[in-house]
């Protein structure tokens, strides 16, 4: 992504590499992670909202654990599973050819795990709140379950779903603990939150202020959008 825009352009606009690099990495990882989280999260949210099988609550609880766990625990777990022996590592090597620890893909996976619960819960709540009579009317008109979901349920739940995706995106951008453990903290090749950490302890105060402010602004914009969108809460 850094290859898309020439560095000289950025420098002339006044965005130095120590801002642009982590920002680009953060955004890149966030987009990939959020894409996957959105697809899987909305689907699972639909299943949990509509399904009537036992253990629905338990599944949602387990999938929501990353919200309650310290990110370091999540990071540590991923590190040992992906770095050490076990079925996950085997699959990983099979799919990717190399271990994912300390790689960009590893970061994306950590962020997926951390942000997934937000999308899941918001979607499940939004879909549960759709008046079932709309769906009943659609089924009565002859729409299959599949088309009812796509043309009726999801559009009606769109505000909560979009809010959930936005929250997941924001959470992805904001992940620190899990990302740090998975990827180490190599300067100039890290995400924004880690770059800030480095700046505070090893860099200049000025740099830290800039990085912090950028992240604050981004978070504020995302959250404001979510607040406007959502009268749907996931908890």
């Amino acid at each position: 992504m850094t290859g898309l825009i020439p560095h000289s352009w950025l420098n002339s606009v006044g965005i130095p590499p120590w801002v642009w690099n982590p920002l680009a990495i953060s955004l890149h990882a966030a987009c990939e992670a959020t894409l996957i989280v959105a697809v899987v999260g909305i689907t699972l949210g639909y299943i949990l909202a509509k399904g009537h099988f036992p253990g629905r609550g338990a599944i949602e609880t387990v999938l929501s654990l990353p919200m309650a766990l310290p990110p370091t625990v999540v990071g540590y777990y991923l590190l040992t599973r992906m770095g050490g022996p076990g079925p996950i590592r085997t699959a990983e090597l099979h799919l990717f050819g190399h271990p994912l620890t300390f790689t960009f893909t590893g970061i994306v996976i950590a962020q997926i795990v951390e942000s997934f619960p937000y999308c899941l819960r918001f979607s499940r709540a939004a879909i549960s709140n759709v008046d079932p009579r709309f769906e009943q009317a659609a089924r009565a008109m002859g729409l299959s379950r599949w088309r009812t979901a796509l043309l009726v349920t999801l559009p009606l739940a769109r505000r909560g779903i979009v809010a959930g995706v936005a929250m997941a995106f924001g959470r992805t951008l904001g992940d620190f603990g899990a990302t740090m453990i998975i990827s180490g903290s190599v300067p100039m090749a890290t995400t924004m939150p880690i770059a800030l950490y480095n700046a505070v302890f090893f860099g200049s105060h000025e740099q830290a202020m800039v990085l912090a402010f950028v992240q604050l602004g981004v978070a504020f914009v995302i959250l404001f959008g979510v607040t406007r969108l959502g009268k749907v809460r996931a908890w």
Binding site: L69, F176, P193, A212, Q215, R233
Partner: protein, 261 residues
Amino acid sequence: MEQEHNLVHQLRDEHQAVTIALTVLVGLGLGYGVAHLFAGSIAYWGVVSGPFFLTLRVAIPATLIAGVSGIAAGYVLAKGQFPGRDVLETIGSLPIILPPTVIGFYLLEVLSPGTRVGGFLTRVVGHELVYNVAGCIIAATVAAFPFCMRAARSAIEGVDPMIEQAARAIGLPNWRVALLVTLPLARRGIAAGLTIGCARALGEYGATLMVGGDINGKTRTLSLAILDSFTTPEKNTMLLILVLMAVAAMTGVGLLGRSRT
């Protein structure tokens, strides 16, 4: 028969929030007691106990402060009719997605005795607010606050305004309506918010690291200790504790949410 059925459901629902709260408290108390009893048998208890109790010392006051202020903020947001409500809610919710390092950074700006605001606060409070337990508590409170606030607002908005009107019609002043009617009717959602706020306070890492300083014995909470003890086996015990607490928290939230439907 129908009435009896309703009564049973009523009792179960009415008391469920209280039951869960009591369970959590008893659980914490039992955990404390059991931990003492088995101190010898739990692997590496010596190393784990320090961070464990420190985490409790930090998380419990943090949850209380975040809870009370969160409920108050949630009430104001739910009932108030001033412009800029959404902006306030956004600001209050920032710690959910802000990276903990950003939170930590700004907290340091505000609390360090070296800065203007920080110096002022340090003088007012009487002792430093960074690199000690107080700093950890502040960081954990900030982490927990948004969940308490949002849950409280949502729950309070869900209370039937007509019941509140009926309470006013009997002559109850507004503050009694809030205490006797609104908050009790919103208790389930508020309890869920407290539960997840507590979980976040327990698991806070980044901001605690920056504001507390990760000083061994003084500000090294459980989630920080894991990172430090990377290659040693006692982290399994620590992990187990954290995972158990997280499971308890999310189960509690799930139960509190489910009985509504």
